[in-house]
Symmetry: D2
Subunit: 334 residues, 4 copies
Amino acid sequence: MRFFSDNAAAVCPEVMAALTEANHVDTAYDGDALSKRLDDAFSDLFETRCRAIWVATGTAANSLALAALCPPHGAIVCHRDAHIQNDECGAPEFYTHGAKLLLADGEGAKLTPETIRALLAGVRDDVHQVQPAALSITNATEYGLVYTPDEVKALGDLCREKELGFHVDGARFANAVARLDCRPADLTWRAGVDALSFGFVKNGGMSAEALIFFDTALADATLYRKKRAGHLLSKGRFLAAQILAMLEDGVWLRNARAANDAAARIGAAAGGDRLVLPVEANEVFLRVTPEEAAALRDQGFDFYDWGPGEARLVASWDQRPEDVSALAAAIAAL
Amino acid sequence: MRFFSDNAAAVCPEVMAALTEANHVDTAYDGDALSKRLDDAFSDLFETRCRAIWVATGTAANSLALAALCPPHGAIVCHRDAHIQNDECGAPEFYTHGAKLLLADGEGAKLTPETIRALLAGVRDDVHQVQPAALSITNATEYGLVYTPDEVKALGDLCREKELGFHVDGARFANAVARLDCRPADLTWRAGVDALSFGFVKNGGMSAEALIFFDTALADATLYRKKRAGHLLSKGRFLAAQILAMLEDGVWLRNARAANDAAARIGAAAGGDRLVLPVEANEVFLRVTPEEAAALRDQGFDFYDWGPGEARLVASWDQRPEDVSALAAAIAAL
Amino acid sequence: MRFFSDNAAAVCPEVMAALTEANHVDTAYDGDALSKRLDDAFSDLFETRCRAIWVATGTAANSLALAALCPPHGAIVCHRDAHIQNDECGAPEFYTHGAKLLLADGEGAKLTPETIRALLAGVRDDVHQVQPAALSITNATEYGLVYTPDEVKALGDLCREKELGFHVDGARFANAVARLDCRPADLTWRAGVDALSFGFVKNGGMSAEALIFFDTALADATLYRKKRAGHLLSKGRFLAAQILAMLEDGVWLRNARAANDAAARIGAAAGGDRLVLPVEANEVFLRVTPEEAAALRDQGFDFYDWGPGEARLVASWDQRPEDVSALAAAIAAL
Amino acid sequence: MRFFSDNAAAVCPEVMAALTEANHVDTAYDGDALSKRLDDAFSDLFETRCRAIWVATGTAANSLALAALCPPHGAIVCHRDAHIQNDECGAPEFYTHGAKLLLADGEGAKLTPETIRALLAGVRDDVHQVQPAALSITNATEYGLVYTPDEVKALGDLCREKELGFHVDGARFANAVARLDCRPADLTWRAGVDALSFGFVKNGGMSAEALIFFDTALADATLYRKKRAGHLLSKGRFLAAQILAMLEDGVWLRNARAANDAAARIGAAAGGDRLVLPVEANEVFLRVTPEEAAALRDQGFDFYDWGPGEARLVASWDQRPEDVSALAAAIAAL
């Protein structure tokens, strides 16, 4: 009973079927019929003209977005616990050719205009310091919290004021939308977002993420950066196929809801005091003693310790209901 | 009837089956059971202890290999027509942080010790010039020629003498081995090769190539570079699965032989004068007038023009015999 | 009466004389007679065989040292207030090709083994995070504090234990040695330091700093990086001349003592409560109200505000005694 | 009697005097009174509003200019014998973060629209190849030839047509202007040049070159790149002083004329057959047998061999007339 990462989940049947269906001859790279449908598909979803670029990993999507928004002598504002800072082995620095990440604080890996303003106030406007060029947030955050459209818009307004590009790491964007039940547009370009890493792999895909540019002028140069980074797969149709399969009939939302619901059930079983943070997406952070953690593991539940006295449990799209029930019961019984 | 690129081919059934079989929960990234089998599988194949790293593209494999072999202030010797020079949008420069490619000439994109010595002789040994640190050849070459073990060894000896790392871009390594009917070891580490990009995608895979380090000390740092480049896919088991499926029962050789045989039939039909180069792997370069090219296209054959008066035709593992026969007949009838 | 930066000071007469004396034909770049004397001159000073490389700025010296000690996928531990983090516009990131700076805290910009251990403990040993490869401290620190030989050695021991390269930004190394009255060797290689940026410009030079490698194996590749960064001046003899002039007869120590003495007089006049930090080198940090700062400025003293309620005053080698007396009196009279 | 490089020459008296005069307290970096005069001084000289940035080396000037004109995924067209390709240890690749140099041919290191068009025709307009973004020529060339205003304009027109930025490496720009007796504007912005590396060091300076942006929008970001590269010297006033001293009263032209005249006398003595190339600036390339070269060296003349059967002699601003006469006589007597 695995709750340690949605990266470990299986691939959903619609994606597997799409791979089989895409297995015929077609033009290489991104010249195939499926890849060419992506711009339209995402423009429909987001109710605006946007550009969509498939890549194989969220790290590639994030880094390409940041390279489009920040020069080598610039800086990217992000949360101290952001994936781009802690979990990508310096990929943003590699792709941006050495831009600096400026780290802000905030409960549950969430940023606010206030924390960002405070950080920016400490930067001197001279050539001795790299100048902030972009903001990157994660929605849902690395701690399973969700920014609302209003919260994103407040940050978007700040970006316009400070002339910062605005990137959203949406490795779990589907979970955020599912939670908020909002229009994807309201959580992105209508709130001032320029670029979105739209994650599919954690949510039932195999190896395809979408980098969405609402500022479409950024897309063309990104195609060169993508090729140059070795991310233009020669049989790219298999990536486009995965994404299109998940957009079709709202599979992406269905999967995200399943994961969120599982997490909600676990969170409800845990109750207020045991929860480190509210459960808003598909992650649950529990206060547990080492003995309690061991007890859960003895019952077959697999999860990460998350600092002293805390555990992280992540629900996936394919989490079996009986496993969720068992976990909920086990936590309630602690 | 497509003969324009082996990149456009379908995925072979063994790989598709392996994807389905791998579709269960396992550890993320490269911690899964399949990924962990790669070192052993390739060590068996190459009859020596080696390290094997999956990546999604040949460009990534090549660039990671070159970054392991050449510092930013170094240079990489390669052929003027090498894929790393002409078809990767500067990926070697990106991954090596700005190393320079030094371009040598040679018929059919093949290098010899003599052409390399001549090139090296022009480099001053002082800090005003980047110093050669690595040699990269492509086997089979971009023009479908094959280096024999002896030819590779002569280059390997030169590399030792000149203290150059030795990389082989083996996007069509399978085609070379199939042609030579030699042991993979003889074409690589026994001939002095340090790193091999072992291609599977053109040969029936979907999205997995293997970077093989015979100089195993180079592997560890490469894992960081790979992550940093966004190439550590979170569901990496699906890449390992593809590779293992093609190694099993010699699928990689079977596929390559099929492609080579198809090209040989086409080449034989063309005959000596019409051939720009001997057909040694799965590519055929023909001398054709514009009218002849048009005539072939009118009959439904798809291929690339390759400079004035020449055409490139590439046979794939899945080329239908009847298509090959039709093409051979059409060429013979020109 | 300028107390805002030792960078603004004049060039000392010995250096000016050396420039005139060097003004004859000699080999270009660093092949001249003066440049060739540097290794020996510093080896004598440091009582060990070392390599010495002139560069025009401390930023270049620091960055070249860090590039020699840290790979692009590595991290450099430094203080949150370090010059390399705050005042070099990302030069370390540029020269290292995107390494990350890990920021530790400590009073007066000083690091201790404890703060560094705490920082390192937070780094996971896996490919998802850049791994610490080097430590960089500043001696004297950006806040005018001095590390003793014992303090440096404690850090050097930690570096050995953790396999970190050890760099000292010695923009004011002369001030530290003058303060401690110690052997330069005790403050560097005997304490485990691998590379030192030995500053001369703030201390009476015009445009020459020395990068000293105690780990001499690092020097050769650095010469390529230096050229590649555009730092191999064609008339390099004029840089070597400056450095040699300051090493001769202990000019570097004489100048540093003059600056330290001036700062000490100012600090003594200020007294304990007014001092933010002890005065150990040539910088004085005062607690002043806006009115007090204005009063000092009205009397002709030029200095920087340093955050709310604080002022930074820097004494230079050429500070006129009467100006120092006047400032001391003015501060005492506040 | 040294004729091997103008880099080895002495510093002219006006520059030495200016250094002495600048030796007083002033604001650090480029905030001083002298540095602030540069924009105006060069705007007067070039009869248009331009931005002027001091740096310590021609390599830094060239690389900063190229980084302003070419993205990492772009390419720079230059001559196969260009300094930026052969003598800067990959500095353009370092500063541009890995752009590629595309090499064209041409007698005497001169490019023509035709050779460039032929080169550009070979670049496919797709993401698999880096796209040309800039042209860089050297005037006077590395072989002492001079582009006329018309020749530069023809290249400038091509740049506009092909949307290439246009950089001139003017390490010997003074020699070109002195030869042509033209307005500096006619050789630069009026001919379509965007950025000029205006050399002073070879022409009597000590350590200051000027990077001139006629496309003034490029200057601001360059200031960050310059700082980040460690090229913002803290006592920058001494660089500005050198440049201003050489602009004053036409010292730069006087020095260049002296060098050109010396070369012309040598060239005239050599006569047509012995000259590899016409003598248009301050370099002379002679056909000499090894015995003849030895004979010249026996008489005390110092110069470089330049490939088999050729020698390069460079005249400097401070070449003594008697040495020039002696050399001319010695060559005539061969």
